[in-house]
Amino acid sequence: MAQKRRTSANFSSLPVILLLGLISLPLLLMYAYLFIDTVTDSQAGSLVPSQFTLRHWSFLWETKTGKPNIWRVTFNTFIFASSITAVILLVSSMAGYVLSRLNVPARGVFLAGVMVLHAFPSVTLIIAIFVVLQWIGLYNSLIGVILVKAAIDLPLGIWLMKGFYDTVPWEIEMAGLVDGASRFTVWRRLVLPQIKPAIMALGLFSFLTGWSEFILPQVLAPGAQVQVLSVYLAGLIVDDNNFDFGTFKAVGVFYVVPVLILYVFFQKHLMNIYGGGTKG
């Protein structure tokens, strides 16, 4: 805080703001037009809209031929993102604990392995995963792609959770044990509540990455019944014959609104994951 005040005393902040504003102008314009274009029609080449219309939003109430129903797709996306969140939270909250606290054999190797997995670009695996999924019959199913996405995101979750567990004092667990609680009860009733903020943050984080995932569903679950929003959105522009930018933008806006809402309500929790602190 003091740092900030000192800088603003030495330099006037007005030029900085002006400069930043100028640089961000194209970005702002893009966002503005993203929205404006969805509710207006304009002449080709003109920046000024000529009339108001809701026609681009018609995808909400009528299903186009050859496209899945938007609500079905939204529901799929929601299921996809929440399932990933659930799997990641469940597995990494337990795995992180084990890696942080229990004397498992080859713990170091395992931790290093998890780290490597996290750094590994998942796209390189996609052909192999495709083959595997087809072979076990999970190709073109939500379950299949949920499992794959969760597995790819798990290393990060496990590492984060381990880090948070490391900050919980040992004595709390010792006290729990001599108080007569089982190891599981100690974890569930005493340790888990200490890292609640971390759980919140990781949950949000997982939900958002799930919501925005494109490549995996595109390759592994492109079917109409299991499509998610990102795939649906991409489907709108692959079709060269009837290019509809208005609808494309409308779907785009529709797609980011939940993300924005989540950010507005939970940004405090999200900051936690980058700050690494456990204060709620």
């Binding site: 004092p169 004595e171 010792m174 108080d179 007569g180 609680a181 089982s182 200490q194």
Partner: protein
């Protein structure tokens, strides 16, 4: 319940912390574990309550071998060095937790929490979380949590370390009273010798993972087995003189001071020795006069403390009733009580 450690050893990886310790704490007894930081006091406690597995040796409660019994089945109450309260629970929930995990009925828990809270005087703080309590209050919550399930054994790891002097005095007698009333066998770990001497039936002094001596407080004070023990008990502490034996006399450093001591008769000339003299045994009333110069004087209210330096630079401490006639730099000729002085060999063994 009697606690017995037999040939108990504990190492962490390759570091040996405790080696072949034997310890016998009688039923209903309160024992103090006293020793410098890092000597293995907490490690011993953690092994008794089952958090650490002994590397070798046995631990018995009564006649029952608990060496391989998990913590949950040992019925031991522990007050940790850092209290280890559960931060997300209120004081009442903290205290009631041992009963909650045993599935005791809620009404019964509430009743017993109220009882024990009244006993340690925190009945008005039960709705607060640990972060809203002072150190002394947290400590009492921890004590209540350790006592609520009526443990067979109570282990206290420096429970009074974070309290102010007055509260410490109060809690000292409080804990002792509770321990006597309930007849619990207790082990108290402490750095504070006054605490150990005033609260406990016996004291065990530890050094580097070994028990050097175990005795009642007065035995320990009047009959220390090593120079380490003598140096550990007593405030102000004992002072040591280095010298040699010569014809039944203790000869200080350069030979300028010779003290005839009965205990030295028959000792070969030239044996290196250490003489331990407690401050109350040097001053007026001893039998061997020595001359020195006051190098430091300090008043402690009821008594004055003097450091007397001899020609060779060695120092003896003296504690005397307050007097105003002496100041640093004055030469004095005071008596040393030769019967009360301890003679140690060079390696610290008492002779």
């Amino acid at each position: 319940m009697r606690i017995l450690l037999e040939k108990f050893s504990k190492s962490f990886g390759s570091t040996k912390v405790i080696e072949d310790m034997d310890l016998d704490v009688g039923s209903g007894e309160m024992l103090a574990l006293l020793g410098p930081s890092g000597c293995g006091k907490s490690t011993t406690l953690f092994s008794i309550c089952g958090i650490h597995r002994p590397t070798s040796g046995r631990i018995l409660f009564g006649n029952k071998d608990v060496t391989d019994l998990p913590s949950q089945e040992r019925n031991v109450g522990v007050v940790f060095q850092s209290y280890a309260l559960y931060p997300h629970m209120t004081a009442a929930e903290n205290i009631g937790f041992p009963l909650t995990v045993r599935r005791v009925a809620t009404a019964e828990i509430r009743k017993r929490v109220a009882e024990i809270a009244a006993l340690v005087h925190i009945d008005n703080l039960l709705d607060r979380r640990p972060s809203q309590l002072s150190g002394g209050q947290q400590q009492r919550v921890a004590l209540a949590r350790a006592l609520i399930r009526r443990p067979d054994v109570l282990l206290l790891d420096e429970p009074l370390a974070n309290l102010d002097a007055k509260l410490r005095l109060e809690m000292r007698s409080e804990i002792r009273r509770l321990q006597k009333e309930t007849g619990i066998t207790a082990i108290l770990v402490t750095h504070d010798q006054v605490e150990a001497m005033s609260m406990c039936d016996r004291i065990a002094i530890m050094k580097a993972g070994e028990i050097v001596q175990i005795a009642t407080p007065s035995e320990m004070y009047n009959d220390p087995r090593t120079a380490f023990v003598a140096g550990f008990l007593g405030n102000p502490p004992i002072s040591f003189l280095k010298g040699t034996a010569e014809q039944g006399e203790f000869v200080l450093g350069d030979g300028s001071i010779r003290l005839p001591l009965a205990a030295l008769s028959g000792m070969p000339d030239g044996t290196p020795l250490m003489l331990g003299v407690r401050p109350e045994h040097f001053g007026n009333g001893g039998d061997v006069p020595v001359t020195g110069r006051i190098s430091f004087a300090e008043t402690q209210g009821r008594e004055n403390l003097y450091d007397v330096m001899f020609a060779d630079g060695s120092v003896l401490r003296s504690i005397q009733p307050v007097r105003g006639d002496l100041k640093p730099g004055d030469d004095v000729r005071w008596n040393l009580d030769s019967k009360a002085a301890f003679v140690f060999a060079e390696d610290g063994r008492r002779l």
